[in-house]
Amino acid sequence: MIKFIARRLLLLIPLLFVISVLIFVILRLGENDPAMSYLRLSQIPATDEALALAREELGLNRPLVVQYSDWAWKVLHLDFGRSYVTGAPVSDRLLFYLPNTLYLGTVSLGIVLVLSFPLGILSALKKDRWPDHLTRAIAFAGVSTPSFWLGFLLVYVFAVKLKWLPPMGMGGPRHVIMPAFTLAFMSLCINMRLIRSSMLEQMNTRSVLYARSRGVKEKWITGYHVLKNSMIPVVTAMGMHIGEMLGGAVVVEIIFAWPGVGRYAVSAIYNRDFPVMQCFILMMTLLFVLCNLAVDILYAWLDPRIRYGTGAEQ
């Protein structure tokens, strides 16, 4: 297991290198001109002279290879450069905003876990009866609802009309409810459906039939054999949901004025703030890969066939 983790961690190095080159090049392929954006934000007319000065100040007049190697060398020393817009160190700002996004993501994940399991199990156990129909209808609505629309709808109902919850910002626990639910809703619905179908599949396996014939109690069969075996695809999906949540936080953070990395990254995209975008993408890649690694480890723990490195035939 340790060898497996070490190998996966080592693989991160070439992966991050390739990603870093890709993002550096892709960002500079288009028409994007940070010097022009800087002048626009500063409300300075973009004359040739002003553009040349801005490019010089931002270090954009150097060859691309020099710019990359300079940036990569600094990144190796955990210095992600300074924002073109604010002049502030990028890593400081991202680390300042990251806990807010992680807080939002964690609460969302909590909502997904707390609600999707009971509803998914209920749906499987009551197949083709009204609780199943209801949860399936919710799931259908959930996967079809864009988060920005759901977010505004929640704000309109719970903040504007009912005045139960604050519409935006970060403060006490009440502030996190709507953004976290908005962020969680789609993952919650997908997870719910996945648990349902996975459980239904497990219920029809021969191992369950043999357990029943051995006289094992139905509660134990459902609660242990079926549920545990149903977890494998769910855990895989959870790994992806975490990534989705971090990515989805971008939209939710803007709607709810949540001071997280997503919103910071979006403003960087608008302002062509390359150092911020590069750092954000690298950080998200790292988080995504680490989440998947954690899932793989959990997967191995749940399924002995993977743990022992043997095939399903055995």
């Binding site: 604010t86 505004f152 704000v155 709607i255």
Partner: protein, 531 residues
């Protein structure tokens, strides 16, 4: 059965949590006004640009002279001033007893220290003619300072009134090197407000400057929340999280219209602030022809645009500058909306329609042109679509090119357009600064005018107007320049933009600023809240 109960209990728990949260909204205390902006206000270095937000710089720092309504120059930190006959030297008599918010006295030395650092970094402020024109600043006595220019420059006082960079930082807040380009120790000015707290991504707090020399503001505190999204801002206003919406683009026009119909809110529109135009490139494509440009002027139904797109929140424009802009009340004859006139002009120019094709042709070539706009700008997109439909009626095919912001500005910069949006800068930059920029090839205006046979004379006249000392001559030059451009139909003025203001009844008084870049919070009088 227990499993069945379990999810229900979870749902009950959630419901209970939501009920616990059912508490009245915590409204801000009296004397505090909550406003919102799309980002934090920045470190508020008065001599620097992005990320410092102009409205906030104007709250903390003051100029020697202030830009008033209609372009009138009013005293501010300078009580009075005089100039030599050649207009190369200006002597300012500073207001006595003025202190920076940290108690440091505002005097001639402070003015000189600020000017000197600005001149040392003139390269960064090169866009502003004034930064190039100041030769030196001389301290005559504690409250008198003289500014010597390299040559006469009539908009000297107008440029001094700008929000940046000629505003005054306390000498105690300068960095050790004395160069404010490296940053400042703290945002300390003489203005009515002091920046007391910044919470990244959340808000900035300003408190009343108790040492302010002017009338004491009614409000004690202003909180500026960071709200990047206009829809979020609208909802925050409706829920009482913010008290004021003020400015250009803060909310969508639909939302403003909705608020306008709500008796609980007071909505107001400012005087014309800038001109929204489409420039017709005289150096490229079919718009090289005067007849085509004039036909376009006659073909656009601006009244329908004002009604349908702007929901009557902007004012129809017939000339490049609104008549309230200094030197611009010229009574130029407008191009009336007349499809028959437009068609006649094109017919006479040889652009004919056939029964088969709806697009006019001449020598086998179609009358087609591009209109470039920022793809995700909803207002530009709507105008473009109406414009396309209007021109189709006279047999001109308009190809809409919605692009990314940078690509759009690159087109302006390089002249790669037939038609492109281009707004004026608004007061205090209109008309002189905006006009001065027409001489630089990097501007859409230069590119659009580049095909005019009299372009050289226009540029020379602009150069002359900026240094002219004779008021009558200056007025005549403005008439000549603007009259020529109007006759050459290079600009298609659509509307005069306005600033929108929405507040609740507890804000009983508030004036609109003379420019779109500053918000006169100090004029706000707040009634006792009655929630």
């Amino acid at each position: 059965m227990k499993l069945y109960r379990h999810p229900l209990s979870v749902l009950c728990l959630c419901l209970a949590i939501s009920l616990f949260t059912l508490s009245p909204q915590a409204f801000a205390e009296s004397g505090t006004l909550v406003y919102s902006w799309s980002s934090n206000v920045g470190p508020l270095n008065p001599h620097a640009y992005s990320p410092n937000q102009m409205f906030a710089q104007a709250m903390v720092y003051e100029p020697l002279v202030r830009y008033g309504m209609g372009g009138k120059i009013l005293p501010c930190l300078a009580e009075s001033w005089e100039t030599t006959p050649d207009r190369r030297e200006y002597t300012f008599h500073l207001r006595k007893g003025v202190q920076f918010s940290d108690g440091t006295p505002f005097d001639a030395e402070a003015v000189k220290k600020n000017h000197d650092t600005l001149i040392a970094n003139a390269k960064s402020h090169n866009w502003l003619e004034l930064a190039r024109q100041i030769q030196e600043t001389v301290v005559l006595d504690e409250h008198t300072v003289k500014v010597v220019l390299k040559e006469s420059y009539y908009p000297f006082l107008q440029d001094l009134a700008l929000i940046r960079p000629f505003r005054y930082l306390s000498p105690s807040a300068f960095p050790e090197s004395g160069n404010t380009k490296e940053g400042i120790k703290a945002a300390i000015g003489t203005g009515p407000w002091v920046l007391t707290q910044t919470r990244l991504g959340q808000d900035d707090t300003f408190e009343r400057n108790d040492r302010y020399w002017g009338p004491r503001p009614d409000l004690a505190k202003i909180i500026v929340k960071v709200l990047p999204d206009p829809n979020t801002r609208a909802m925050a206003f409706e829920t009482g999280e913010i008290d004021l919406i003020y400015g250009d683009g803060q909310i969508s026009l639909d939302t403003f219209n909705r608020f306008r119909n709500n008796p609980a809110y007071t909505t107001r529109m400012s005087q014309p602030l800038a001109s929204r135009c489409i420039v017709l490139n005289s150096g490229r494509g079919p718009t090289r022809e005067l007849a085509v440009r004039k036909a376009i002027q006659h073909a656009v139904n601006k009244e329908a645009l004002i009604r349908g797109v702007f929901l009557n929140t902007e004012i129809k424009a017939d000339t490049l500058y609104a008549s309230n802009t200094p030197y611009c009340d010229l009574n130029l004859p407008p191009y009336e909306y007349s499809l028959s006139k437009a068609k006649k002009l094109l017919d006479l120019a040889g652009w004919k329609t056939t029964d088969k094709a709806s697009v006019r042709t001449r020598d086998g070539k179609e009358l087609t042109m591009d209109l470039c706009f920022i793809g995700n700008n909803a207002v530009m997109k709507s105008i473009s679509e109406v414009f396309q439909a209007d021109l189709q009626k006279i047999g001109i095919r308009v190809v809409l090119k919605g692009e990314e912001t940078d690509s759009y500005y690159k087109r302006q910069h390089q002249g790669e357009f037939d038609l492109i949006f281009n707004d004026s800068w608004g007061p205090p930059y209109d008309p002189h600064s905006f006009m001065s920029s027409w001489r630089a090839p990097s501007h859409a205006d230069y590119q659009a005018q580049s095909g005019l046979p009299m372009k050289k004379q226009i540029d020379e006249a602009i150069g002359e107007v900026l240094v002219s000392r004779d008021e009558f001559k200056r007025q005549a030059l403005y008439r000549e320049i603007l009259g020529t451009l109007h006759a050459q139909a290079v600009y298609l003025p659509i509307s005069y933009t306005t600033g929108l203001m929405v507040h609740r009844a507890d804000v009983s008084e508030m004036a609109y600023g003379a420019t779109k870049y500053e918000i006169p919070f100090e004029t706000i009088v707040q009634k006792q809240r009655s929630y």
